[in-house]
């Protein structure tokens, strides 16, 4: 297979997943498209260095996340706030809350979650990655990833529940 065709196949296979990941991190369609594009261009230049072809997907997600962090550092646009959710108060959020929310609301709520916690949470929801794979993508210890996902999930569910409550009150 020619290099051009290989590149095109890779783009068509993963650009949606990468775009969704980028959109959930940035909350901006334009930034997500830029991050996706940049990720594939880095692949075009450095992808040959990857020794295990099976880890392409993880490599692409890691690269997009790194590029996102670079953008954050340059623009300081996504200030990080620590999450102080305690697992003692696990939320009892009915599934209807999530079913009623649209993707725009979900993205807005994700955008309110600190970046350190947002990335693992997005991978937890969107990709069929094991916790070990999520930890590898984000270059974090497994325990840290699980703890961040748990805390961020509690926050997401709480905010989702609050949003539904306000909508019901407004009706």
């Amino acid at each position: 297979m020619s290099a051009d065709l290989e590149f095109e196949n890779l783009v068509r296979l993963y650009y949606r997943d990468l775009y969704r990941f980028g959109l959930s991190l940035t909350g901006s369609e334009a930034d997500a498209a830029d991050l996706t594009q940049e990720t594939f261009y880095i692949w075009a230049n450095k992808g040959h260095q990857l020794q295990n072809p099976a880890s392409v997907k993880g490599w692409l997600f890691t690269t997009l996340h790194r590029e996102f962090l670079k953008t954050c550092r340059r623009q300081n646009r996504f200030p990080s706030e620590s999450i102080d959710e305690r697992t003692e108060d696990l939320p009892n959020v009915p599934a209807e809350c999530a079913e009623q929310a649209d993707s725009r609301t979900l993205l807005r709520i994700l955008g309110e979650i600190a970046e350190d916690f947002r990335a693992p949470l997005v991978l937890y929801y969107m990709e069929d990655l094991s916790y070990k794979e999520i930890a590898d993508v984000l270059a974090l210890p497994l325990g840290t990833v699980q703890s961040r996902i748990a805390r961020a999930k509690i926050q997401l569910l709480r905010r989702l529940s609050d949003t539904n409550l306000s909508l019901e009150q407004a009706r």
Partner: protein, 208 residues
């Protein structure tokens, strides 16, 4: 294991994708015997599925893939046989240049008896000046880069006469001249003319 611990563990449980993960096994078994926990678990899996479906339902603009493919950068080809050929070509070219410089030194001995003059004017990047008539402050950056990279440099005096600037035979003066690119300076040097083309062998540069 108790309900609280099981709940904390199962908060991360996503359904079949996590069935093979041993960390959930004991908690899942416990949930089978605790009706309330079982009900909470079913609800939280439904919640997970709903959020996942919403997020995975987001679609990028259809033209994004084509845009990425069309604008793909072309990586430097790592063809080692061609790189070796290129290295050999550079080596041969450097050898020929060195021989020519040596031969030129021999032919330029007449400069020793040339007339010593002072020329005041703008330092030019001769390539851009002759080819595209580019000079002045707007072209300063390009001139600095070009001269620094070894392109021929010149000086245009107030009467519009242009001299090719050179160093001692076999020695480049470009690095020094690059600092004065597009600036007005006075250069003391030895003037020689061949076929109507004037050359100034630089001895001293003074910034005005």
């Amino acid at each position: 294991m108790n309900t609280r611990i099981a709940k904390e563990i199962l908060l991360l449980y996503r359904g079949p994708i996590d069935d093979s993960d041993p960390q959930f096994r004991a908690a899942l078994d416990y949930a089978k015997s605790d009706l309330e926990l079982g009900q909470w678990l079913r609800e939280q899996i439904k919640c997970y599925d709903a959020i996942r479906a919403k997020l995975r339902g987001i679609e990028p603009r259809p033209e994004l893939a084509d845009k990425i493919v069309c604008r793909r950068p072309i990586p430097f080809p790592r063809d080692w046989s061609r790189i070796s050929q290129l290295a050999a070509a550079i080596l041969i070219s450097a050898t020929v240049t060195a021989l020519l410089i040596k031969w030129s030194e021999h032919g330029n001995r007449s400069v020793a008896g040339a007339q010593e003059i002072f020329v005041t004017g703008e330092v030019l990047d001769m390539t851009c000046y002759i080819a595209s008539n580019l000079s002045g402050p707007e072209h300063a950056y390009c001139a600095k880069v070009c001269i620094g990279n070894g392109e021929p440099a010149g000086i245009k005096d107030r009467d519009g006469k242009v001299y090719l600037l050179t160093g001692e035979p076999g020695q480049s003066i470009n690095a020094k001249l690059a600092d004065y690119a597009a600036q007005v300076v006075t250069i003391k040097g030895k003037k020689s003319v061949r076929d109507g083309f004037a050359q100034l062998q630089v001895e001293e540069i003074r910034k005005l």
